[in-house]
Symmetry: C2
Subunit: 449 residues, 2 copies
Amino acid sequence: MNRHDSIKQHLANAGDGAPTQLRYARDGIITPEIEYAATVEGLDPEFVRQEIADGRMIIPVNLKHPEALPFLIGRKALCKVNANIGSSAIVADTDYELRKLKMAIKYGADTAMDLSTGGDIPGIRNAILRNSTVPIGTVPIYEAIARVESPSDITPELLLEVVEEQAAQGVDYMTVHASILLEHIPLVNSRTTGIVSRGGSLIACWMAEHDRENPFYTHYDQLLEICRKYDVSLSLGDALRPGCLADASDDAQFAELTVHGELGRRAREKDVQVMIEGPGHIPFHEIEMNMKKEQELCDDAPFYVLGPVVTDIAPGYDHITSAIGGTMAAYHGAAMLCYVTPKEHLGLPDENDVREGVIASKIAAHAADVALGKPGARDRDDAMAKARFSFDWEEQFRLALDGDRAREMHDETLPDVAYKTAEYCSMCGEKFCAMRISKELQRYSDERS
Amino acid sequence: MNRHDSIKQHLANAGDGAPTQLRYARDGIITPEIEYAATVEGLDPEFVRQEIADGRMIIPVNLKHPEALPFLIGRKALCKVNANIGSSAIVADTDYELRKLKMAIKYGADTAMDLSTGGDIPGIRNAILRNSTVPIGTVPIYEAIARVESPSDITPELLLEVVEEQAAQGVDYMTVHASILLEHIPLVNSRTTGIVSRGGSLIACWMAEHDRENPFYTHYDQLLEICRKYDVSLSLGDALRPGCLADASDDAQFAELTVHGELGRRAREKDVQVMIEGPGHIPFHEIEMNMKKEQELCDDAPFYVLGPVVTDIAPGYDHITSAIGGTMAAYHGAAMLCYVTPKEHLGLPDENDVREGVIASKIAAHAADVALGKPGARDRDDAMAKARFSFDWEEQFRLALDGDRAREMHDETLPDVAYKTAEYCSMCGEKFCAMRISKELQRYSDERS
């Protein structure tokens, strides 16, 4: 029985109410999931077990989602990348979502979130879960909204009902905007762009209209009970993340972060794994401070950031503004980057946007892993350098994050198969290829020595 | 007479041997060029004069290039972006180069380098100079190579002849690989990718073959004499920049950097403006150290960096790996970023690659300017945030670094003119637009207060 099969069996055997990975870890048990995920990254399983036990790593794996391979989220593990997919009121087609999922996984997404808001939401989600080898996250309030006439008709009971249904289907982690409180709402008034979190703005509106506290906060214990039952990891959503540089690092953002810390502790007390979601739009020089603040206020729980986007003036290129911020964030401790696609701020991403977004985030995550000297992180870079110097083009394509794109660009000017072993490319041409000339230089040196 | 006309007249009146901007600045004179360039950036002209006098800023403006507007390169000025264009042996078409120049300037390149190596090199360069409103740089050894049978036929006299001809044509700054010395060549042997600078590898080969010292080094005084005569700024080329992460920050690189410092001082003694070229491929965590080292060894002369690329495994996306490294470099003091296009390591960039490369570098330069709090740097971001919150799509396109791209992406799903004032876009749709919901929230708050 291979490792994946043994994990599947382990999950299948676990009845409702089986211990969560956090509980096992605290009890000193290295589960097959922990062992698998640790081994894949070259980490010591006992070290990983301790990180999970202390809440600094999570292993998001729903008991009802045996299709997925477990993996680690935490700042001592490799930095991970999430890709958002999902239907909208305008486009709701299961096959299209599966194509986006496939695209995301092909280019290296470690997890995907199904943010569907249109069409047969449970049906699309089920198709995604059953076809995904990576863990799947959701934002349950989106489905809750779809079930009511107006957002104000939402009830705490409906929210819990949706959470339970999604958990039973196998969703591995869920974003809940539980940390925005009534007292935070006035802090938003002075902002330039208000609330830019979809789920967060809906919850805030509900609270303001009913003048009642956040239902995810008031019913947090019931929510934890459901999560514990299926081992759903909580991703505490940042309703108050800044939507522009002007709003970055403000009182609203940090007030919510403080509550994140409190709710994180409460989750772990109930054996529920938890990560914290973070900004957003942050100027480059404030990213380090933001990462440190999360570690301090939230007991170093894994930080899952969106972007951060480091300038507001590049719509159409926000995968790049995010790759810049994401590298800096991961370098200072972010555990997972939520990709941002070129369409951010402009429209719904298509398949190609998914590819561009995943690659940009993978670059950021990898650049930070290399900078932090994580085990083996630079091996692929070194292999690429060797392939370049030996003009082994096929090996370069194989090692590239997006070998298809690299091959396509190379072949644009030199498509012939003979050029796959040529000691130059069309960038400089044969006469001006520095690497080819470098080899001549080596010959001179060898002759003289 | 407007400012540009007065600059043109000033340049036209200056005979051969007129003082350079550096000489003027040292004599306490604020030239029209200094005043113009300072005013454009909102800097005090006297402050700029002092920076130039001390060699921490340059204003690359050849007396024979009145078509160009002067601008500042230095770490206290806004970070600048250079775009490389130029013919190759495979494609040599003047109109095509002019189209690439136009594209680069349209998307915000502050300067361009004509790296032509094929066709009528002086003719292409003249067309570029006469049509460019931005300063133009060159790498004279490329033209020298084109004039001889074999690189080994190059003589110091030929190099100086080419430099003088290009200077007389109006080239504003020139890359010369003067700082690689015979004693450095053995340091390259242990490298993974040897020498990856085209000019540098040619000079190194010449030195090794003839067993003679670098001709740009031995004839440096004559070179300075030509530069002084036309006020050509020197850009000391980094022949020994690393070509992969494995070679970063090695002995070869820093040995050359030390000579850069020496040659920079010698240039300024002769009233010649000078900047220093830098790497290359550098892991993220070594970028700050690299910037500091240049400031220390080269007296804080403007540092003009290529990339730095922070991982080797993303061919096809090296505009992104460079934007990451470029932001970090500029944040720690790089004065100008040389763009890297998606085609880097794969082929010759086309017009679209120029656009992608310029925008990626502009993002990096701007993100660093914002992070450093340079005067007015964040104004455009703040205006964008306001335009977003008021759903003023036309204003968003106007403020975007690439408004054409932003409009195109927005219109992909919502092309109708009515959507230009819609309070949502296709990303989330109307029901889920957080900003629209935020406005409702504000209404609730207003009602209660």
